[in-house]
Amino acid sequence: MSATLTEGSWQYRGLNAQNPGLDHLSDGLLDLVDAGHPVVAGTADLQYSNGLVKFAERHPDRFVQFGISEQNMVSAAAGLATTGAMPFVATFASFLALLCCEQIRMDVAYTKLPVRLIGHHTGIALGFYGTSHHATEDISTMRAIAGLTVVSPADGPQLRAAIRASAEWPEPIYFRTSRGRDPQVYDDDVVFEFGRGIEHSTGTDVTLIACGTQVHPALRAAETLRAEGLSVGVIDMPTIKPLDRSLVLAASERSDIVMTVEEHNVLGGLGAAVAEVMAEAPSRARLVRHGIHDEYSLIAPPTHLYAHYRLDAPGIAAVVREALA
């Protein structure tokens, strides 16, 4: 018996209808299947959260439900890859990159198997669900694993493009994605190239290097700052490993300040990756790392958290002004 509900009420299985941005993961996988690739998708009881339900409905034979057993899922994905399948397994980034870190290291990366790991709801996107569901260490742990590529798409179209491009990328990959509600940065026909940053603009005062959900607010912050007379460049750095070193070095030659922006601990994340490049080369610019400063997030709705941690456009602009002051 179904209750008659007032408009605005919703339940978990309605997430996709409510949130079409979740389709990009499944759409990317469907593109690969249509191109003849032996995709197998796995989830750990989160097919509505990550949108894989769409893929599962289209290809039930290529979909594996693992239940709440993330480590088992990652190790099994490695086994699947040995049989010629192209496995994509998805769960919350906090579980994938921390709970399954050792399975990723031993079964996926050390073995060089082409497993694709989708860590979704990264950073503080899960807001008041709390620290257990936040992933502000995943770039750091995944980047430290030899042979693992780390990709943080800025939006759904870029994720879909990166998934398509992954068919030609031989290494195992960790994709860091958000919750499918991110504002769109790119058109649907965007092309993805592993290892290449995207220079949206150049500037002599400051270059913002952002990844993932922070690309959109960084672009908006730059507009605000330009209106104030500053020269601001923006680089989207979706591949955190291998990092586009030449783009970092060019920015550090051109700008007084290079500022990284990430929804992640500044220790070990994008800021650290950029710092490593700048520290090893002659660099004119000063580096400012903006993100979560080695702390656990407060509880709040996501938009409140982004404002609190100055990871929205006004916050990023304010951090730039302070750095230049």
Partner: protein, 289 residues
């Protein structure tokens, strides 16, 4: 996706005597290789020697000339520290040379204490971190069924390994997905590093646990190589959508060298050449008995 398997070759057909001989070979070769490293897992190999021999000489379809053959049966070791007992078999079957075998643990050798699929032909999956292997095998069985291939996946687990939570995640999933080609073999030798499994964290009633998880459970004397062979051959023929099987192989840790059978400390150790020679003599004597 469904490329049906056609005309698989016959399974290997070692008779009872040659299986016993190969189990003896596993033990004596492990002693010889451990002399090179000057440390190794003697008693972990000795409990599994008949199982190794039964699998490779009496059960599994493999092809050393084509180690990546897509239809081959797979073998994984949760207890990867017993790899020094498997390497001599792989060399014997022609996966790599005796020269490579004798480079065991030396600088740059593909052969270390744990098996490495990226370095050693014939190793179907790397191991070393206990608890992953049944999940790895689960993925292989899923992939085989998806691809319409008929291979079986044998996963040897230590009894101490039953303490790892991931094993039971894989046990649930194997039964749920009805992976009839997945066979877990528990080397129930009773000991782990810190003592008796029952004293460290008990695992009984083991068969009941696997049954409760939805697996078809068989108990066998793990040192009766012929019985192990016959059982595993039968299990390899189960339909791909049957319940998975678990074989509890009752074994003795250190089997073949009396003082090792009585002392769990021989999980890891070293025998100087004179003692190694005596141990080999005892094993050969037992093998003839």
């Amino acid at each position: 996706m469904h490329s049906a398997t056609t005309l698989l070759p016959d399974r290997p057909t070692a008779d009872d005597a040659s299986l016993a001989d190969r189990a003896t070979f596993v033990r004596t070769e492990a002693i010889r290789l451990i002399e090179i490293a000057k440390v190794g897992h003697y008693s972990s190999v000795f409990s599994a020697a008949e199982i190794f021999a039964a699998l490779y000489y009496g059960v599994m379809r493999t092809d050393s000339a084509n180690p990546a053959w897509a239809d081959r049966d797979r073998f994984l070791m949760g207890k990867g520290h017993a790899a020094v007992g498997l390497f001599p078999i792989l060399a014997d079957l022609g996966y790599f040379s005796r020269e490579v075998l004798d480079s065991y643990t030396r600088l740059g050798s593909p052969l270390g204490d744990h098996p490495d699929m990226t370095k050693v032909a014939g190793i179907d999956f790397s191991s070393g971190s206990i608890g992953h292997a049944l999940s790895n095998g689960l993925g292989m069985a899923l992939g085989g069924r998806l691809a319409g291939r008929d291979f079986s996946v044998f996963v040897m687990l230590g009894d101490g390994e039953m303490q790892e939570g991931q094993v039971w995640e894989a046990a649930l999933a194997g039964a749920h997905h009805r992976l009839g080609k997945l066979v877990a073999i528990v080397d129930r030798n009773g000991f782990q590093l810190d003592g008796s499994v029952d004293d460290v964290i008990g695992i009984e009633p083991l068969g009941d646990k696997w049954r409760a998880f939805g697996w078809e459970v068989h108990e066998v004397d793990g040192h009766d190589a012929s019985a192990v062979r016959d059982l595993l051959r039968a299990l390899a023929e189960r339909p791909a959508d049957a319940a998975p099987s678990c074989v509890v192989a009752h074994t003795k840790k250190g089997k073949g060298v009396a003082y090792m059978e009585e002392e769990p400390g021989w999980h890891l150790g070293y025998l100087v050449p004179a003692d190694a020679e005596a141990a080999v003599a005892e094993i050969l004597e037992g093998g003839r008995a």
